[in-house]
Amino acid sequence: MTGSTTENGIKWEVRANGRDFHQSCRRRSVLCIRWGRYADNVVRSYKYTPLTFFPLNLYEQFQRAANLFFLLIVILQCVPVIATIPWYTTMLPLLIVLFVRGCKDLATDVGRRRSDAQINRRPCDILTPEGFKTVKWKDVCVGDILRVHKDQVIPADLLLLCSTEPYSLCYVETADIDGETNLKFRQALTVTHTELNGDSTEQNLAAFDAIVRCEEPNGNLHSFRGEFHWKGERHLLGTDHLLLRGTVLRNTDYAYGLTIYTGSDSKILQNCGRLKLKKTHVEILLNKTVLVILLFMLTTALLLAIGAGIFEYRISPNYDVVSIVQRDSSPAYQGFLTFWGYIILLSPSMPMSLYITFEVIHMVHCLLIGWDVEMYWEDTNCPAHARTTTLNEELGQVGHLLSDKTGTLTQNRLLFRQCFIAGHIYGDISQKSKPLDLSWNRFSCGGLKFSDQRLVDKLRGRGSLECQEFFTALALCHTVMSEWKDGLPHYQAASPDEEALVCAARELGWVFLSRTRDTLTISEMGLTRNYQLLALLDFTSKRRRMSVLVRSPGGQLKLYSKGADIVILERLQKDWPLQESTDRALELFAQSCLRTLCVAVRPVPEALWTEWSRALNLAGTATGNQETLLEEIYDQMEKDLMLLGVTAIEDRLQEGVPETIASLRRAGVKVWVLTGDKTETAVNVGYACKLMDPDTTLIQGEELRQLLESPSPNVDVKSKEPEVWITDKKAVMSKAALVISGPELAELTKSSEWGAKFVALSGQCQSVLCCRVTPAQKAEVVEMVRKHSASITMAIGDGANDVNMIKTAHIGVGLCGVEGSQAVLNADFALAQFSFLRKLLLVHGHWSYYRISILLRYFLYKTTAFALVHTWYSFYNGFSAQPMYESWYISLFTTTYTSLPIQCTGIFEQDISARSCLCWPEIYSIGQKKQLFNPSVLASTLLYSFYSSIIFFFVPMGILQYSALDFQTLAITIETSVLFATTLEVILCTKYWTKWNVAAVIFSLAAFFLSTLALHSTRLFTASPKDYFFLGASQNAYSTPEVWLTIFVTTCVAVLPSITTRALGVVLANPNKHKIHSSANEPVELQSWFQRGTVQRRSSYAVSQGKGFGKLITTGVGLPSAAPRQDGRVTAESLKNESPQGLHIEMNRAGVSC
C-alpha cells in the first residue's frame, strides 16, 4: 500500500487467534514487580488480598501521622525509665482506633471486590476451535476473536473485522465514553469485510491469521494508529476501525472483532486516573493544627526538660531524697529522660480519638444521606449513596458546581412541543394537556407531547396547504435513518432534534418510511409517496442549516430547508408575509425556553437545478479548498426561501433542575456547565435551567479573548477581586455568562496566568458554559478552578465522560442514570436526580459542616485543656513529669467520659431546621466562607483551652494549698473539674437536645463516677495494688465539702469565657438576625428578571460534534440498493485528511458520487 510508515510508537503486536502467544506474555505481578506485556481483561479495583490485608492495612494506617505518633508513644511507654504513665493508657485507644479503621477498610474493599466481580462476570462470545463459546469477560485475551451481539457492551478494545450489516458497518453508542447518545459508525476494513463475510464466517474467522501492529496502549480515545498485515498486504488502521470497551453495539445484529487491548490496557481504563485519596480542607486544616499542637507539645516538653535539668543541677544535689532516686546521673541526662517523659504525658493533647470520632461521625452523616427519603428516587428505586465517607463537611462549603449537561441537567429527551404555521401557534406547553387521540394513524408509536386538536383536524381535513407542506418538509429534510421493528418505523438520528421532529411528523401522519441513496419514501396521511433525493446540503455548525433538494412524485423540484432562525430568515424572499407574527412566535418560544428551528421551502426551476448540479459536480471533483467551495455553492441554492413555519422543541430538563440551580445560585454557588455538546445546545439549556437569566449577555469567542488579553494595569491576578471589569463592564458582567469552547479552552489552560484571569472573570459572571470539551478537558477545567480559586469544587455527571472531572474535583457526584455506572463508581456521592443536590448541599452539607466544625473545635479544646494541666503542675513538682491525673483517668477521659455527648451533638445537632436551610440558601455561605473552622477560630479555641487549663490547675491549687489534703485528693478535684467543664462546654455547644443527647450526658457523668468508684474500690486494689493505688481516694475526696466547693468554682471559672461569648452573641445577634431575614428577600428578583428583561431568541440545531449523516446518505453506504462502492482501502492521504477532532465519521474515502 502507499507509504512506508514504520513509525515510532508502533510496537504493540497482536496476532489474531494467537491466544497461546499472548497468554505467554501475560502481564503478571508479585508485590511491586511486574513483567509481561499484555494485561488480562480483569478489572481489579480492590486493594487487599486475604494475605496482604494485615500488613498492607497496618502499613496504610501507620502512614497516618497520628497513628504513627501514638505507636511511638506506646513504645516510649514501654521504656521503664521514662514511662510516666503505664503503657495501657495509650495502647487501648490506639488498638480501638486501628480496629475500627481496619473493619471499615475491609468492608469497603469487599464492596469493591463485589462490584469488580460483577463486571468481570459479564458474558461474551469468544471464538474457540469448537466455535463460538460464551465465556466471562475476565477470560478474554489479546488476539481473541469476539462476537458481539446487539445491545451488548463491548468487553475490550476490538478491531472490527466484519459485521452482519452491509459493508461491515456497525453502530455503537458511546454514551459511556463521551456522553453523546447519538450513534456512531464504525466500519471494518474492506479486505476483512470481503474475505471474512459470507456463509461461513465462523470458519473464515477461525482461519484468520492476520497480525496487527499498533500503538502501545494509551488513553487517547480519539486516535488510533496501526497497521494490519494479512496475506502479504498492509493496510492502515484508524480510530474508526476500533470498537472501544464500554461502548454499546446498536442496530447491528452481530459484529466480529479482534481483541487488541484488554483490561487495564483498554482506552477507557487508561483514561481512568489513579484513585486519589481525597482530603477535605477541614481535615487539612485539622492536620495542620495537630502539627501545631505537636510542635507546641515538643517545645513545652523541651522547656520542661530544661527546667528539669536546672532543677537537677541547682536543687537536687542538696536534696538527698530526690538526688538519690535520680541515681546520681547528670542533669543533662535527667533532662533528656524528662523530655520523653513529658512527651508521653502531653501526648493526650494530640487528639487521637478525634480521628476515629471524625470517621464515625462522617460515616453516620453518610448513612443519613442514604437514609433521606427526600433523596430517594422511586422510579429507579435508587436512594442517595455516599461512597466516600470523608467528604461530608465539604458538602457544606461548595463554591463551584461543575455540571455535565446531558443526562445531568437534561433528560436528553427532546420533545416537539409547539409549532408556528401560517400565523398560528399550535400546541401549548402546560403539562396538563391531555394527549391526542392518534389511533387513526397506524404508524403512531406514541411519545408525542404535543396536544392541539386544531392542527390534527387541519391536517386530517387537508384544509391547510401550509400545514401539509410544513410536515412534508419535516418528513423529508433530515438525515435520519429508519429501521423497522414490529411494523413500525424507528429512527436513528445523529441529532436528537431531528429525531424529535421526524417522530413528531410521524405521529401526525407524515411518516418517513425509508430511504435509499436516491429516494425518500414517506407516507402522507396513509398515502405512500416517493421523492427523488437530488441533493443533500448537509448541516455544519458553521452553516447552521441543512436542506434537501427533492423531486416530488408530481415532478416539481423543491428545496426544503431547516435551520437556525437567523440563517433562515435572512435567506427568505424579500418582504415575506407574517414577519411580525413570526417574530412574536419566536420570542414566545424563547421565553418558554424552547429551541426553535425555522422550516422553509423553495420551488426550484428545472433550469436552475441543471446549472447548479453542474457546479456541484465540479466542486466535488475539485481539489484543495473543497469545503469552502461547496459552501458557496450551497449558499447559492439556499435563497429566496419561503417560510413554512417554526418548530419549537423542548430539551426536557430533569425534574426540579431550574429550582435547584436558582437555589444554589442564591446560596452563592457558582454553577458551570461542562459539556461535550455544541455551544447552541448548551446555551439553550443554560437559559432553560435558570443558569442564566433571559437577558444575560453571553461573552464568548473573540470578545472573551479580548477581555482576557486586555493587559489592564488594574488587573492584579493575585488579588481575588480584579478591578478591570468593575470599571466599565460591571453592569454588563453581573448579567453575563462566559461561553467557551474546547479548543479555546485548550489554549487557556496552557498558561496559568490566563487560567487565573478566567477564573477571576468568572467570579464576576453568572455562569460559565464550556462546550465541546473532551473528558480530559473537563478535568482540566476543574483543575483550573481548583488552582485559581480557594473554593471547593464539586463535579456532577452521569456518564463515563464525566469520570475524569468527578475524580478531579474536591467532591464528585455521580447520577445513577440510565446509562452505565462508570460515573457512579468513581463518584464520592451518588444521587438519582440533579435536584437532590439541593438537599444534599443546603441541608446535609450545611449540617455536616456545622456539626463537624463544632466537633473538631470541641475536641481540640477538650484534649489540650486536659493535657496542659500537667504543664502547670510541673512548676510545683520539680519538673519531674509527675502526672496530674490518675493513669486510668487519662486513658478513659477521651474515650469514655467525654466522647458520647459530643458524638451525639455531631450526629443530631441542627443549628437551623432543614426547611429553613432550604428556604434561606444564603445561610450556606457560612460554609463557603469557612466561618466555623478557620485558623482564627482555631486559635481562639486553643487560647480558650490554654486559659481553661490554667484555671483547672491554679484554682484548685490555690484553694487547697492551705489544707492538709494530699495529692490524690487534688488529682480527683482537678479530674472532676475538668470533666464537668468539658461536659458543660458540650452542653453549651448543643442547641438541639434530643433524648439521646440527654442520655449521653447522663451516661458520661455516670460512667465517670461509677468507674471512679470501681477503680478506687477494694476489690480491684487487692487484685493489683500497683495499678489501682487510688484506693479510697474518691470516697475521701467526695466526702469533703471543700472539694465540692472547689470543683464548682473551678468549673464555672473555666467555662466563663465560653458562656460570656455565647451570651454576648445572643445579646448582639438579635438586631443582626433581623437584617439577615430582610436581606433574604432580595434574590426574589430572580423571578422578576424573567418577566422584565428583553428575551433573546434562541434557535439552533443540535447535532453531534461532527457533521451529520449527510455524507453517508449521499454516498449510499449502509443503504440498500446503493451503487457498488469504489475502492475503499485506506490511503495515506485520507488518513491525513482526518479532522483534528477525530470524532466524526470520515466517509471521504468513498468519494462524493453525486
Binding site: 433521606d372 428505586n381 455506572s821 500497683k1026 479510697g1032 445572643v1066
Partner: protein, 341 residues
C-alpha cells in the same frame, strides 16, 4: 447493579433516619441571658460571703521552728547533726482556741510530689505480702537493699524519708508544765488503715519476727515493728504517722496532721495561757532550704481556714454581675439604635 437488589431500597421513614427526632431547642434571648447572669452572679457572691465569713471564724496558729535565725530556740538543733537534739518553743494564747484543735506539722520546699520519689514504694510489701519482704520491687531502688544486700522493709524513698520530729505540748500554769494530751488515733485515712496497708501476719506471736531477715530503712532510728513503743498496735505499716507520711502531698509546701487535741481538759480547746512545745529535732531540712513548722487549727464544716475559696466565689460572682451590666448597656444601645433606624 440496580437490578441486583430487587427489594425496594426505599429508606425507612422514621424520625431518626429523617433527622426529625423530637428535640428541645433552647432559644436564648437577652431577656433570659442578662437576668440569668445577674442571678448567677448574686448567688456566687452570696456563697462567697458565707464562705469568707466562715473562714474568718477559724483560728490558726502557725509557728516556724526550723531555726534559721540565730536567736530562735531551735537554731542549735538545726546546726548540729546530732540525732537527739531537743528545743523548746513557747507561745501564748490570749483567748480560747476552740476545739477540737488539729495539730499539724508543715514542710515547705519539700518535693513529696517528685515523680520518682512518689513511685518509690512497694504496694505489695505494704499490703503485708511477705514474699515482697525478701525481694522488694525494683521501683524502690536505691532503697531496696542495704549495702549488705539485705532487703529493706518498708522499702522505697517515701518510707525512708519519713518525718521523725516529735512534739510534746505543755500548758504552763503557774510555772509548771502540764502535758497536753495529744490524740494520735484515727489521723490516717480509714481506707489506708484498714485496707491499703496491712501488717504481715505475726510469726510466733510477734510482729518483729515477721520482719526477720529484713533491715529498717536507712534513715530510720527504729525498725518498723518498733515505731511506737507505747502502743504495740500502732506499729509496723499501720503506724498512724507512717500512714500519714505515706499519703504524699500534692505540692512542695504542705502540712500533715500530727495529732488532735480532744482529750481531758483540752477537749473544748486550748484555753488562753502560755504554752511550751518541746521539739525532738531530728529531721534535717536546711540542706535543701526547707522549712518546718507546726500549725494549730480548728475546723468548720468547710474544713480548715481557707480565705481563697470565699474570695474565688466573690470574684466570679462580681464578674457575672459586671457582665450582666455590660450586656444590658450593649443591649439597650443596640435596641435603641435599631428602633431609630
Amino acid at each position: 447493579m440496580k437490578n441486583e437488589g430487587e427489594t425496594a431500597q426505599r429508606p425507612d421513614n422514621t424520625a431518626f433516619t429523617q433527622q426529625r427526632l423530637p428535640a428541645w431547642q433552647p432559644i436564648l434571648s437577652a431577656g433570659i441571658v442578662i437576668p440569668g447572669f445577674l442571678v448567677i452572679g448574686l448567688a456566687f457572691i452570696g456563697i462567697g460571703v458565707g464562705l469568707f465569713l466562715t473562714s474568718q471564724t477559724i483560728q490558726v496558729l502557725e509557728m516556724d521552728y526550723t531555726g534559721v535565725a540565730t536567736d530562735s530556740s531551735c537554731f542549735r538543733c538545726s546546726m548540729t547533726s546530732s540525732q537527739n537534739c531537743t528545743c523548746e518553743i513557747t507561745f501564748s494564747l490570749d483567748k480560747l482556741f476552740t476545739g477540737p484543735v488539729f495539730f499539724y506539722y508543715g514542710l515547705s520546699n519539700y518535693y513529696q510530689n517528685f515523680r520518682k520519689y512518689g513511685v518509690s514504694l512497694d504496694y505489695y510489701q505494704l499490703s503485708g505480702d511477705t514474699q515482697y519482704f525478701t525481694s522488694p520491687q525494683s521501683v524502690c531502688s536505691p532503697y531496696s537493699y542495704d549495702n549488705q544486700n539485705r532487703p529493706i522493709v518498708p522499702c522505697g524513698a517515701i518510707a525512708n524519708s519519713m518525718f521523725n520530729d516529735t512534739f510534746e505540748l505543755y500548758q504552763i500554769i503557774n510555772g509548771t508544765k502540764n502535758l497536753v494530751p495529744l490524740d494520735g488515733k484515727g489521723i490516717a485515712w480509714w481506707t489506708d488503715y484498714n485496707i491499703k496497708y496491712r501488717n504481715p501476719s505475726f510469726v510466733n506471736g510477734s510482729l518483729a519476727n515477721a520482719f526477720a531477715g529484713t533491715v529498717k530503712p536507712i534513715n530510720w532510728p527504729k525498725p518498723a515493728y518498733d515505731l511506737d513503743s507505747t502502743d504495740p498496735n500502732n506499729n509496723g505499716f499501720l503506724n498512724q504517722d507512717f500512714l500519714v507520711w505515706m499519703r504524699r502531698a500534692a505540692l512542695p509546701q504542705f502540712r500533715k496532721l500530727y495529732r488532735r487535741i480532744t482529750e481531758g481538759n483540752y477537749a473544748a480547746g486550748l484555753p488562753a495561757g502560755n504554752y511550751s512545745m518541746t521539739v525532738h529535732y531530728n529531721y534535717p531540712v536546711l540542706t535543701f532550704d526547707g522549712r518546718k513548722k507546726v500549725v494549730f487549727s480548728n475546723v468548720s464544716w468547710m474544713g480548715g481556714r481557707n480565705d481563697f475559696l470565699g474570695i474565688a466565689y466573690l470574684v466570679v460572682g462580681s464578674l457575672c454581675v459586671v457582665m450582666s451590666i455590660i450586656m444590658l448597656i450593649v443591649y439597650a444601645k443596640f435596641k435603641f439604635s435599631d428602633d431609630d433606624a
